[in-house]
């Protein structure tokens, strides 16, 4: 089976897994994030500078996924929560025991600000025929995750390129 099965092809371009951010965008989390990388950019530390440059406080662009990280525990949850669910669905659909993210590119649009409520939506962009690489035999797939704020403004698009595979028998 080297060609892409019809049920997977049918998912290409179809939005799925619309999710709301797990935690609200808030200043304490932003401070903790910039502290961890010793980031002294005054936009994150001085509201007057943020007012002047960024029209008010903003979150670092690379903080985007933080708002969507599954909590380690939530009341009533019985299954393990995973980020980028479509990726794990493809891995399972093809029966690949392994999958790695080979490339990640994010394009940033409207800045994220404290108080924002974000939503994300995943979309399968492409799936390759089966290929053999040095890791094993499997398929590459590309997933876009589109993020929007409560005004429906586009905040960012993340493009994840992954390789799901099975290690070849020696």
């Amino acid at each position: 089976m080297t060609e892409v099965p019809a049920d997977v092809l049918a998912r290409v371009g179809e939005p799925c897994h619309r999710e709301q951010s797990v935690v609200p965008v808030e200043p304490g989390a932003i401070t903790a994030f910039v502290s961890a990388s010793h980031n002294g950019n005054p936009v994150y530390w001085d509201d007057a500078v943020a007012d002047e440059i960024t029209a008010g406080p903003v979150a670092p662009a690379t903080m985007l996924s933080v708002w969507f990280q599954p909590l380690p525990w939530e009341p009533g949850r019985t299954e393990e929560a995973v980020p980028l669910r479509l990726h794990f669905e493809l891995k399972e659909r093809f029966g690949y025991p392994e999958a790695i993210v080979s490339d990640n590119v994010a394009t940033y649009h409207e800045p994220v600000r404290p108080g924002d409520v974000l939503t994300s939506e995943q979309r399968l962009v492409s799936v390759s025929d089966e290929k053999t690489t040095r890791l094993g035999t499997g398929r590459f797939w590309v997933i876009d995750v589109e993020y929007r704020n409560q005004h429906d403004d586009l905040v960012a698009v993340e493009r994840w390129t992954s390789f799901g595979y099975e290690v070849d028998a020696a």
Binding site: F33, T107, Y108
Partner: protein
Amino acid sequence: MSLTLADVTPGQLLPELVHDVTTTTIVQGAAAAHVWRPMHHDHEYAVHRQGVRDVFMDTQTQGAWLERFVTDWAGATARLGRLGYRMRTPVFPGDRMAIDGSVRDVETDDTGCGWVVLDLTVRVGTTVCTDAHAKVALPVDATDNPWTRHGESWQP
């Protein structure tokens, strides 16, 4: 002090950022990124389940260091438009992490927005741990501010 587009030329090198990574660097980064997978905080798990020598820096935290590296150089008025990276090998406690960058391209788009394209690397010694590239908007002159751009006038 922020750079403007006139301050930047292709081939220019960014000042290197060096940081001695500790377990605290790794765990503080993972906690701040809300990443609770055990290989980023649990030594026993990292060694015995992942087969690596120690806990290692998570993807989001590497992104945070790269963003900081870019704005340390370009200043607060710089606005990140695009960041891509490929992690090749982990960064561990005890590593002296060095981030380097060079200017690949300088351009002004059809909307008048000034852009700099950067090639970035995260290294430990001579080993490249992560390759990255960034597209960053800089003011085209002292009166410009990329943060005022929205919608059609922001094309990252």
